[in-house]
């Protein structure tokens, strides 16, 4: 359980305390990852099934590693090798997997709400690993974890999120979590990439000028421009996009405050939203995000597979 929740389908319904519960536990989990022997028996005998209907290397591996460090067994089930092509419905697929008695089902799906649909038909815990343009809760949590680690706190901080917000589940999860931890969010992108009514989610302002959005910010989250969107047609092309909304070394030097850090959920389109010098530069915490992702997912799996935060110091980090 994460607070009152048996599943992790999004961050919209999580309270500040519930988010902090995961982040605090992830701090202990990160200690485990720093050890020479990266294995604790906390989830021994538990089964985690990664059910991925969309291609993903980073997130799937991250959940898989998180499972293994906690001694859970992890099975990956991908759509390309699945019965989906034979016309099986999502609910049938989930029920079949459920019959193999997993403790946690991690789901990525192109349709918003798909993990919720599954959660209504299975008894095990369900974790969304990203559904359509809805939410990507573990990414939102690892972004918060990384910001807390780098900035000390999110209280009073300003975070700019730049790019295709309309198709971004990362932006939505960030937007549901960061204001609860005290941060202000600025969303930035061309109007075609800012969905109607996003400001009504609260805690954010909308900008179309990159400089206005990033000046004075404590952190900038650069979203990936997905090439498949170009024909949509939300933007004329990547050339103009990178000129107007991409971040390069010159803009970073002129507009960003000295302590401002740069995040990206990956994978990066180098030269589109981020120039290589910025992606690899001293402000970039992109690889920290990846490492923190494992710790955060360990915390999520631990809580949902039946652990409690009190146990972790004994069974997990300090055993």
């Amino acid at each position: 359980m994460i607070g009152r929740h048996r599943h992790l389908l999004g961050l919209e319904g999580l309270s500040r305390e519930e988010i902090l519960q995961v982040l605090d536990l992830a701090t202990s989990m990160k200690e485990v990852l720093a050890r020479p022997l990266k294995k604790v028996p906390s989830l021994r005998g538990k089964l985690v099934v990664n059910l991925f209907f969309e291609a993903s290397t980073r997130t799937r591996s991250s959940f898989e590693i998180a499972s293994k460090v906690l001694s859970a067994d992890a099975v990956n089930w991908t759509a390309s090798a699945s019965s989906v092509t034979k016309g099986e419905t999502l609910v049938d697929t989930a029920r079949n997997l459920e019959a193999m008695r997993p403790d946690v089902l991690v789901i990525r799906h192109a349709a918003g709400g798909a993990p919720q649909l599954v959660s209504e038909h299975v008894a095990c815990a369900v974790v969304s690993a990203g559904d359509g343009a809805h939410e990507h809760p573990s990414q939102g949590l690892l972004d918060c974890f990384t910001l807390r680690e780098k900035l000390g706190t999110l209280e009073g901080k300003t975070v700019a999120i730049v790019g295709d917000v309309s198709h971004s589940r990362v932006a939505r999860s960030d937007l549901h979590a960061m204001p609860k931890l005290g941060a202000k969010v600025r969303l930035c992108g061309p109007p075609t990439m800012i969905p109607q009514g996003i400001e009504r989610l609260g805690g954010c302002t909308v900008h179309h000028d990159l400089r206005e959005a990033v000046e004075g910010a404590d952190a900038v989250v650069m979203l990936r421009i997905q090439h498949e969107r170009i024909g949509d047609p939300l933007i004329p092309g990547t050339r103009e996009y990178s000129k107007l909304w991409g971040l390069n070394a010159r803009k970073a030097a002129e507009w960003l405050t000295p302590g401002c850090v740069i995040l990206h959920p990956g994978p990066i389109n180098r030269g589109v939203e981020l120039s290589p010098e910025v992606a690899d530069g001293p402000r970039s915490v992109i690889l920290d995000q990846v490492q923190n992702g494992v710790a955060v997912r360990m915390a999520i799996l631990y809580l949902l597979a039946g652990g409690s935060p009190a146990e972790v110091s004994a069974a997990g980090a300090r055993s």
Partner: protein, 436 residues
């Protein structure tokens, strides 16, 4: 439909018949399949059959201008018989059967099949609607003349908007021959894109692709302009937006032959209900549930007559088509058996008068489509609904008469229910005593 030769007295009920201006406790006498008399005091022969309607409303049978009966071709969702059974259980004595069957109703053969099935069922009157275009493909006109002669009362490519302005122009012109309206599904498909719910904050939160209200307004505005060009008759199906209300209001002010219907779900629900439901596909339909401002606009338009009638857009789908991801679920929900109670809630909220509610379900659709019924004036067909406006019941999808279960009101407590339905003087539906 065989007409009853029996004499039947419906006594003690509050007769609400906007067509003849009656609202008060009356006795309704039915004889030979027709309304013989509506009066305060009537001598009753000792052997006459009597229905005691005290405490209830007695109205003309409801007429639903927009129903999907799914036969031929998709009998697993609904048949003419099960749809007609659901109709009479909801107080509807006549329904217009939309032509998007498999194959679509663009031929006399399909029209005749629907009529034959309806006659076999012997429940509600079923009026087929023919296609505007062959195969509903939006390319060539369907043979409207033959369809009209075979019994179609209107033409529609419902479910598939007529995208070509040129074809729509010719359809409006050609249908003038028969005086039949074109009942149109108004969405600009290029604006709808891949949208699966109303564009707005709720869709943004759910991460679902939005279908903007302007997709409807653009098409209604286009077709109003084409009515002006052609002198044709346009009936806007399931109108859902404030912008379309403005376009219809403007068209009526200019004296154009434009009418409109609204579905109970657009009067009752908004896109926020989609969000609150947690991706429940029983809240997915086309056009989608709109914003609170749109809902307020369609309510006001129904009350002031800009929107003429209430039509359910009864759209049965099987669980196979609904128990899936919201993105891929089919559009549409059941309507016939919940319409009265859903709309009656508007009366309790003060958004709609009782007489206007009954008119929008009876006289208004009869007038638009030139149908008998919709009235209890002497000589009218003996099509009558008896309704208990205070009856509380729980909407259990398993107990509905439709073959399908896709209703957003599942499990909800409803107020107001049909207790008796008569078609041509025959009692075709009576609510079991244990449920009253």
């Amino acid at each position: 439909m065989s007409e009853s030769s029996e004499v039947l007295f419906i006594e003690g009920g509050r007769v609400i018949d906007p067509a003849s201006g009656v609202d008060g406790v009356r006795t309704v006498v039915l004889r030979g399949g027709q309304v013989a008399e509506v009066a305060e005091r009537v001598e009753r022969p000792r052997d006459a059959r009597v229905i005691d309607a005290r405490g209830r409303w007695v109205t003309p049978g409801f007429i639903d201008a927009h129903v999907h009966l799914r036969e031929p071709g998709q009998e697993y969702k609904e048949t003419v018989e099960t749809g007609a059974r659901a109709a009479v259980a909801g107080g509807f004595t006549a329904v217009l059967a939309m032509p998007n069957t498999v194959p679509p109703n663009d031929s006399v053969a399909v029209t005749e099949l629907v009529l034959a099935r309806a006659a076999q069922a012997g429940l509600a009157r079923v009026y087929p609607v023919g296609c505007i275009s062959k195969g509903q493909k939006g390319e060539e006109l369907a043979e409207m003349g033959e369809l009209f002669q075979a019994g179609c009362v209107a033409f529609s490519d419902d479910g598939r908007p007529v995208s070509s302005s040129g074809l729509m122009r010719r359809a409006l012109e050609y249908a003038r021959t028969f005086g039949a309206p074109l009942a149109v599904h108004e969405e600009d498909l290029a604006l709808v894109g891949k949208g699966v719910m109303n564009e707005g904050p709720a869709a943004t939160r759910l991460g679902l692709k939005g279908n903007p209200a302007q997709a409807e307004e653009v098409m209604v505005s286009r077709d109003v302009a084409l009515v002006e060009l052609t002198g044709g008759r346009l009936h806007v199906c399931h109108l859902s937006t404030a912008g379309a209300v403005r376009a219809v209001r403007d068209a009526k002010a200019r004296g154009l032959a434009v009418t409109a219907e609204v579905a109970p779900h657009h009067l009752a629900l908004t896109d926020e209900d989609v969000a609150a439901s947690g991706y429940d596909t029983d809240f997915k339909m086309a056009p989608p549930l709109r914003s609170d401002a749109d809902r307020a606009a369609v309510r006001a338009a129904l009350a002031d007559g800009t929107i003429d009638c209430i039509a359910t857009d009864h759209a049965p789908h099987s669980a196979v088509e609904k128990a899936v991801e919201f993105d891929v679920a089919l559009n549409g929900i059941l309507g016939l058996e919940t319409a009265f109670s859903v709309c009656l809630a508007l009366v309790r909220e003060g958004a709609l008068g009782e007489r206007r509610l009954v008119e929008a379900l009876t006289a208004a659709p009869a007038r638009i489509f030139g149908l008998p019924g919709g009235s209890l004036a002497a000589g009218s067909p003996a099509d009558v609904a008896i309704l208990d406006p205070g009856a509380e019941w729980r909407c259990d999808p398993e107990r509905l008469h439709s073959k399908s279960r896709n209703t957003p009101w599942k499990g909800k407590t409803m107020i107001g229910r049909c207790t008796h339905t008569l078609v041509g003087g025959n009692l075709v539906y009576e609510l079991a005593r244990g449920e009253r």
